[in-house]
Symmetry: C2
Subunit: 228 residues, 2 copies
């Protein structure tokens, strides 16, 4: 109604979104609202309003509400996965259990809390989205879970992790401990580096094959897994 006379000259108003970024803005806004309100309570009108748009306009960028939620879910896992993969690849080839877990845990936590709206939305609403959306997202979750389990299995084969540790369960414990940070972590109360260190220390001491606190390098590596 008011002042849309000079609109055709600009592709976009300089509100808070730049250039061709409407799609990104919608996804980020949707993630934030999904996180706080849940899947069903998040209306397209609410997403649009927070983007200074109207509900009908979202359909230019997305086919449906489910397509929006699908992309939000995938982004949440993909950002963390990418962060951990590239951090672990940068490690020296024969990195110790301690170095590997410190690195992977810190990378997971850093990406988790940096893309907070996407990751928190993912954890909170995964169980609430329509079944087809959930099933198609599940593959990516499984791939990330397998990545961690295979990393731990390699360390166990090298003798760095005690043979009795069940690594499938260990991955579940770790994911639970790390992802719960979306619910309690607060910049003002904690330092991310120190949180990562606390968690890594706990897990490394809990998993390692034998006490190696004093001089990690001097211990002979055990090969093969022990038969019970």
């Amino acid at each position: 109604m008011l002042k849309n006379t000079a609109k055709s000259a600009l592709t976009k108003l300089p509100g808070e979104t730049a250039g061709a970024g409407s799609r990104h803005l919608i996804l980020e806004t949707a993630a934030r609202i999904f996180r706080h309100e849940g899947y069903a309570a998040t209306s397209l009108r609410a997403i649009a309003a927070a983007c200074n748009m109207k509900a009908g306009s979202l359909y230019y960028h997305f086919e449906s509400k489910d397509q929006i939620v699908s992309e939000v879910l995938d982004i949440g896992v993909q950002k963390v996965f990418d962060s951990v993969k590239s951090a672990v690849q940068a490690l020296a080839p024969g990195a110790t259990l301690g170095a590997t877990l410190h690195c992977a845990i810190e990378a997971h936590l850093r990406a988790l809390l940096h893309a907070h709206d996407f990751t928190s939305a993912n954890i909170r609403i995964f169980g609430q989205v329509p079944a087809p959306v959930r099933e198609s997202h599940r593959m990516l979750r499984r791939a990330y879970e397998n990545y961690w389990r295979e990393m731990l299995e390699q360390l166990q084969r090298d003798g760095a992790i005690r043979a009795e540790a069940d690594l499938q369960q260990t991955v579940y414990f770790l994911f639970g401990a790390m992802n719960w940070a979306t619910e309690w972590y607060d910049d003002k109360r904690f330092d991310l580096k120190l949180v990562a260190n606390q968690m890594a220390d706990l897990v490394v001491l809990g998993l390692q094959a034998a006490p190696e606190r004093a001089s990690p390098e001097l211990r002979p590596k055990q090969r093969k897994k022990q038969v019970s």
Copy 2:
């Protein structure tokens, strides 16, 4: 419309709810649907239908949807809290770190997975309920968290937990690891006792003040916390 002639003689039809159990049935049903659909997507019609009732009838037992969700949230925490408290109280007074954590973790997991609909609903929808509901439930959550932190602080004062461990964070890690089991635990794939043992072993080894695998009783206790 059909056959409600002899209704006044019975207080209740023998459907699947006994005696004065309509309230309980509604709460259990609500918890199950809240868990799967989320807070907003759970309609009173859906809860009522699953109880073989009509939406309007719920208002005889509850004042509003928010009162139902409030009670569901509280029950989820209270059942776990009660279970852990009574299991820990049954321990010998000077129980070791290992005995205490094995006991508390198993009690938490057992109640968590036994009251699965209530506990899973609690974890999933806590962030989505209206603010007044969330705030009034938060006290109970905080009380349970304090219970665990104080238990760990006592063990640290006794020298059983290494002084560098941050116990506030440890409680967050533990809660995350334990509560995530609502998302992956499956009777057919796992044995609860073994899961509790795996988790307790990991945490005990990760927290203990010094390696005491061989003979826990022989180590001298350290008093006071070390100044850094």
